[in-house]
Amino acid sequence: MRYLLRRLGFYAIALWGAVTLNFLLPRLAPGSPIDGLMARLPPSQLAANPHMVENLRAYLDVQQQPLPQAYLGYLKQLATGDFGVSTSNFPAPVSDVIGRVLPYSIFLVGTAFLLSFLLGTTIGMIAAWRRGGIVDNLLTPTFMSLGAFPAFFSSLLAVYFLGLKLGWFPIQHAYDLGLSPGFDWAFLSSAFRHAQLPILIIVLVYAGGWLLGMRNVMINTVEEDYVGLAHAKGLRDWRVMTHYAGRNAVLAPLTGFAAQFGSAVGGLIFIEYVFSYPGAGLTLQQAALGSDYPLAQTLLLFFAVCVLVANLVMDLLYVVLDPRVRTG
């Protein structure tokens, strides 16, 4: 319990740090971002929304208020959920935009990352259990090479071969054009179909890392006395592999889960871009290109929060899985 509280404290501080960095970014930027932004906006939009300039000024607030005051104001804004107004989607508030795109990303990365973890660790467990067997000799190098290519390259390859050439998967967007989001079967099944290839790529690219991590720990775990004893007790082979060796071996790569998550967020952005999948990643890229600072910065914060949440979930999971951490 104390362990969890310590972790929580750590995350709170990291979050504060991320928020502060976010606050400082526009103020550290060379030149005046507002001018750069103004230069990009079409005059018609400016004319139609005279308040936008003031909004932006207030948001970016570069030379106006003294720093401490601006900082407190910023914190207060965040606390109340006021993230400003998105310039590329004017006048939609940032929170609306994020609310629209975040679910798709969470669905994508959540499913895919979880699957890659399960797949990778399972194969790694089996590969280490029967070293030199079919699984080890075939699947280990396969996944290692799959993971060796940068994520964006793999997604391009996948789009080309699996989407275009073989036509097995739809390769653009999150759902068929003409449908609108809702909890009906048509939409959900279409969304599911469109998510298949992106999920597949994420799974294949990241499973290799889990595989190797699990396999390396498992090779040592297999030598442990309690595995030998379980074997001597006449337990069935697969049970020893999973409940005795696997259960213990998985703890080590699990601690790396959270760190990998940050990398997965990066991969997500590439994949959404290549597939034109309307998630938070694609939105971030477009917002940044279009100098929509409020949206871009808030998305950055959200990504950081996601990483923190993933970390926290992993810590919780670790406490559940390893009873030794629970006492003191």
Binding site: A14, P150, Y273, L284, S291
Partner: protein, 336 residues
């Protein structure tokens, strides 16, 4: 022959002392075959040797660009959309640019940017990591806090947002941006390594003798961590290649420049992928993947430098060294 023997661990039973960064002996003292110790170890390891060869090939191609790729990467030299053929080894883009030229000339930019970014990142990481380890106290706490913040914020989104705030695009900006965001992981690792060195007597002795903080860091601590710093440098190097290419791919690079990521950007932007022109993205992508793989393999060798336990059997290594240096490396009594 006594040049080789003292360097390698004697027999399979290594001492139980924790093997740290001190494993690399001073290259000034021991020289054999004219090559310093680290070079021999790197070449001796099969994996890192392969990596060095491939990487050297890529660098060589980049350097030899004017002779290797006769066409200018920015000239429209051929019919657009050609698959690889005799005139254009990697084909042409949908506009008519020579993909091969672009890849070869682009190697210069990509490699240089990544190398400079890695240098910057390593300098920052080393400085902060060692400073934190040596100073302790509030300095350590502050540096730790900053490091944690940068570790928690996912790198690519941070890079994207910073790019958004910086209006100019170009190699220099890329170097600066990458250097200032990728140092955190190495800083953390170097700090924990340095902590074990700081406790050692010779550091305490230097402190008592009156050496200043930076003097100790640069003269006492850092020389003992060279191989770990080197490994970190290689790591950030190939990380920077990927990040730089990734940023360019997303449109945050100099889209009028020539580098691997930018080629990919145009491939995606002009939907050449969807039109079936696989050569437009496969070749630059392979260049990136190959370079990264070569560097990863080189790191296997660098890892061995800092941890002798990982070093492989002596015979194989000596045989390869023999190849490199031209002298017979396997002694008679060993050839059982």
């Amino acid at each position: 022959m006594s040049n080789i023997a003292p360097l390698e661990p004697v027999g399979p039973s290594l001492s139980d002392e924790p093997v740290g960064p001190l494993a690399l002996p001073s290259s000034r003292r021991r020289r054999g075959f004219g090559l310093p110790v680290w070079a021999r170890l790197l070449l001796g390891n099969r994996k890192s040797c392969a990596g060095i060869i491939v990487f050297a090939g890529i660098v060589g191609a980049a350097v030899a660009a004017p002779w290797l790729a006769q066409n200018s990467p920015t000239d429209l030299v051929g019919l657009p959309g050609q698959p690889p053929n005799r005139d254009f080894w990697f084909g042409t883009t949908d506009q008519g640019y020579d993909v091969f030229s672009q890849v070869v000339w682009g190697a210069r930019t990509s490699l240089t940017v990544a190398a400079c970014a890695a240098i910057a990142s390593t300098v920052i990481a080393t400085t902060l990591g060692l400073l934190a380890a040596y100073s302790g106290g509030w300095i350590d706490d502050v540096i730790n806090l900053i490091t944690n913040v940068f570790l928690v914020i996912p790198t690519l989104p941070l890079l994207i947002v910073i790019s958004a705030f910086v209006p100019t695009r170009g190699p220099l900006i890329m170097v600066l941006i990458l250097g200032f965001t990728t140092w955190a992981i190495e800083a953390r690792i170097l700090r924990s390594q340095a902590l074990s060195i700081v406790k050692r007597d010779f550091v305490q002795a230097a402190k008592v003798a009156g050496e200043g903080t930076w003097g100790i860091i640069w003269r006492e601590i850092m020389p003992n961590m060279v191989s770990r710093i080197a490994a970190g440098f290689v790591f950030v190097f190939y990380g920077s290649i990927i990040f730089a290419a990734g940023l360019e791919f997303l449109g945050f690079g100099d889209v009028n420049g020539t580098s691997w990521g930018v080629i990919l950007y145009w491939a995606q932007n002009n939907s050449t992928v969807l039109q079936g022109a696989w050569w437009h993205f496969v070749f630059p992508g392979l260049a990136i993947a190959l370079t990264v793989a070569a560097l990863v393999f080189i790191n296997y060798g660098v890892d061995e430098l800092s941890n002798p336990r990982l070093r492989g059997p002596r015979r194989k290594r000596r045989a390869l060294l023999g190849l490199v240096s031209g002298r017979p490396a396997v002694r008679a009594e060993e050839a059982r």
